[in-house]
């Protein structure tokens, strides 16, 4: 109770420093948020492209439909496989005519082979897995040929890996800088009150008693800064959506984690700063 009151009083006694602290936290986390926004959208884009990874197995003419149905059942039971569709000769023709309208008269019935189209589950779309599934499908006797755009799948995997590593490295760098800036801000707030801390110790305050209001203050600043950062990121995302490119925002849980992260940085930063200070005086 006293700690809460003291924490609030600290805001009132040094409003400028408090507001500056919150703004610093907000902008540090805003930078992290913007980066996160880019990362989330790149990830989503890659995932949507990856969804198109597809294995197409061409069926020999005259294969019994029971054999095909059995094979579809088998392939559908592979752990990697999300969906299996059968494309008959007629469907293939219809599709070709639709997709390549200007050549519609070129295609005759029976010209295109029937095929089985296999889509893989997320996480199984890397070149190794695709190759392995394709190889297993190719073992059926009535399969003439299996295609999956090997080169494209490999390129996609490489892009995903680079994006992942760059994302982690940049994310860590942004987060480290944010933590350092926030830590310094909080340290300033503690130093500004070093006289008060020294006097508290002289009159017999315990370390816990001295620390508590600072922890609450740090936590509250973290929450406010984190909330402001979330708002800024959201506004930025709206503006980008309207003027530049369609993007998606963080899922709710990630946004909450971000704000809580701010609060925890505030809390820990205060704890460390006050602790260090207490050890010295």
């Amino acid at each position: 109770m006293r700690s809460m009151r003291e924490a609030l009083l600290a805001f009132r006694r040094a409003p400028l420093l408090s507001v500056l602290g919150i703004i610093t936290i907000a902008f540090s986390l805003f930078a992290v948020g913007l980066f996160g926004l880019v990362a989330v959208n790149i990830k989503e884009t890659i995932a949507s492209v990856e969804e198109r990874v597809e294995i197409r197995a061409f069926v020999s003419e005259g294969t019994a439909s029971e054999a095909i149905a059995a094979a579809i059942g088998d392939v559908g039971a592979f752990p990697e496989v999300a969906r299996v569709d059968y494309v008959s000769q007629e469907d293939a023709l219809k599709r070709a005519r639709q997709e390549l309208g200007e050549f519609r008269d070129v295609f005759d019935a029976g010209f295109l082979p029937a095929s089985i189209e296999v889509r893989l589950k997320p996480g199984y779309r890397d070149p190794e897995q695709v190759r392995s599934v394709a190889a297993r499908i190719a073992t059926y006797q009535f399969i003439d040929d299996v295609r999956y755009g090997q080169e494209w799948v490999e390129k996609l995997a490489r892009i995903r890996n680079i994006a992942g590593i760059a994302g982690i490295a940049l994310g860590l760098a942004f987060a480290t800088v944010a933590v350092m800036i926030i830590g310094t801000t909080i340290r300033m707030a503690v130093l500004a009150r070093s006289r008060e801390i020294a006097i508290m110790r002289l009159v017999g305050a315990t370390d816990g008693f001295i620390r508590r209001p600072f922890l609450i203050e740090g936590f509250v600043k973290g929450i406010l800064g984190g909330g402001a950062a979330l708002l800024l990121t959201w506004v930025a995302s709206l503006l980008i959506n309207r003027y530049i490119v369609k993007t998606s925002f963080f899922p709710m849980e990630l946004a909450i984690v971000g704000v809580l992260g701010g609060a925890i940085i505030g809390l820990l930063g205060s704890g460390v700063s006050v602790g260090r200070h207490l050890r010295r005086v």
Binding site: M200, R201, V203, D207, F209
Partner: protein, 231 residues
């Protein structure tokens, strides 16, 4: 109540501050610590309120020994001591009342009792009408009175005063000294470091003179030591 036994204090950077210092302060005694600047007076005071711990030897204060004291015990010890400095160490952004109340809050006094205790203390130090004033609105002597009131909040056994009149003119010095004597008369021991030989001469209190970290003169304990005080 306060006992130094062969106390040596060495600071890592500035070297030896005290060498083999031994003395005892009895309950209710008034002791002047005197000596040139840098002689070790402040170090002795810091050892009493355990801001510093001795490099060798032992300091015992109201039953606590520097040999095995814990950090949390030091906080509790300070509630039984009152500490006053030359530079007052008041919080500039709070009124005189709030400065005193602050010390009560820190030590967990019931909130309902704080206002009446604060006003009693202000009366005791002669500032009954200035509770609402901020430190910058008070004279040096008045600020020191607020600091003394703050030091008295927990009815300490000992008042430790480090050059309490060092920043004050003669008149204010006499007023503060008189106040310290009154506090002593009511049973609180006072250990006061001072340069002011005039004050020492004008009273017949015990005087310990320090030079280069050693006791060079001790006029002797002013009261007989009772066995139960030899803790």
């Amino acid at each position: 109540m306060i006992r130094f036994t062969d106390v040596t204090k060495e600071y890592p950077r500035t070297g030896v501050a005290l060498t083999d210092v031994s003395f005892h302060v009895a309950k209710g005694e008034f002791v002047f610590l005197t000596g040139p600047s840098g002689s070790g007076k402040s170090t002795i005071l810091k050892l009493i309120y355990m801001e510093e711990l001795p490099t060798a030897g032992e300091v015992r204060v109201s039953g606590l020994s520097t040999v095995d004291v814990k950090r949390s015990e030091i906080a509790k010890l300070r509630r039984k001591l009152g500490i006053v400095f030359q530079d007052f160490r008041l919080l500039e952004d709070r009124s005189a009342e709030a400065n005193i109340a602050f010390a009560l809050e820190v030590t967990g006094a019931p909130r309902s009792q704080i206002p009446s205790r604060v006003s009693r203390l202000l009366t005791q130090v002669g500032l009954a009408s200035k509770g609402g004033a901020f430190p910058r609105e008070l004279s040096g002597g008045e600020q020191q009175r607020v600091a003394i009131a703050r030091a008295l909040v927990n009815e300490p056994y000992v008042l430790i005063a480090d050059e309490p009149t060092g920043n004050l003119d003669d008149r204010a010095t006499r007023g503060i000294f008189q106040l310290l004597r009154e506090i002593n008369a009511s049973g609180t021991a006072v250990v006061m470091a001072t340069h002011n030989l005039d004050l020492i001469r004008r009273s017949d209190y015990r005087t310990i003179e320090i030079n280069r970290g050693q006791i060079v003169y001790d006029s002797g304990e002013t009261k007989p030591v009772q066995p139960e005080e030899l803790v």
